[in-house]
């Protein structure tokens, strides 16, 4: 599973992208993944402390946090977008 981070989520975790080979069996949805991220250390705990303000994309499509995830997915975590002008 490839995970990418943007904006302040990237800054807090200190990682822009990573590949996770194996996740615990009970991590089945985006929400499960967020709970698991919180346990990875201070930067992650801080980044994911309030899941409501985190946005998610699975394979470059916006997704809700109750969406299931699969081993080959590209999961992105980021704040609400602020493009345009």
């Amino acid at each position: 599973m490839k995970i990418v981070y943007f904006a302040w989520v990237r800054e807090k975790t200190g990682i822009s992208e990573e590949v996770l080979e194996k996740l615990p069996d009970n991590v089945k949805t985006v929400a499960d993944l967020i709970e698991w991220q919180k346990l990875r250390g201070s930067g992650f705990t801080d980044a994911f402390s309030d899941p409501k303000i985190i946005r998610v994309a699975i394979n470059q499509e916006y997704s809700s946090q109750d969406h299931p995830i699969e081993a080959n997915d590209e999961i992105a975590f980021f704040p609400p977008v602020t493009g345009g002008r």
Partner: protein
């Protein structure tokens, strides 16, 4: 036409390319977004736009396709820059060309409203107080919600 790029763009050249040799186009409405010097009450020295390469193009392609389905347009253009930009610099160019002027305004307005709330870009502002990420505004979500009810033209 969609371009996600670091470099600046030339409005004249881009709009001429959009028009091409199509003499059935009666009008082109365009919007240029610029970096403002003042961010709330702080003076900006620069702004850095971060994007999600790949997803950016996909999302904008969808927005463009929706505009092309919704209105009778000859062509649309969306150019969005990323990287570090100074106050006064161009960030974004959106344009719609059609036989009739009303639809060019509607479509161009639609494109920029959706770009603002759907395209995966994040803005980091540099001020004398340090750097901070721009938060999304409720008014932008409201602007998008309004497009769900057909507007009176």
């Amino acid at each position: 036409m969609i371009k996600i790029q670091q470099k600046n763009f030339d409005v004249k050249a881009e709009l001429e390319a959009l028009k091409g040799n199509n003499h059935s186009i009666g009008g082109i409405c365009s919007f240029i977004g610029l970096v403002r010097e003042m961010a709330e009450n702080k003076k900006l020295s620069a702004m850095t736009l971060e994007q999600y390469p790949g997803m950016t193009e996909k999302v904008i392609k969808k927005i463009e396709n929706e505009a092309l389905q919704r209105w009778s347009l000859h062509s649309t253009l969306i150019i969005h820059r990323f990287g570090r930009l100074k106050p006064g610099e161009q960030i974004v160019l959106v344009a719609a060309a059609s036989a009739h002027r009303e639809v060019t305004f509607e479509a161009c307005h639609f494109l920029i409203d959706f770009l603002k709330t759907r395209a995966p870009f994040w803005k980091l502002e540099e001020t004398q107080d340090g750097n901070s990420w721009v938060a999304a505004r409720d008014s932008d979500e409201t602007a998008v919600a309004n497009w769900k009810h057909p507007k009176q033209v």
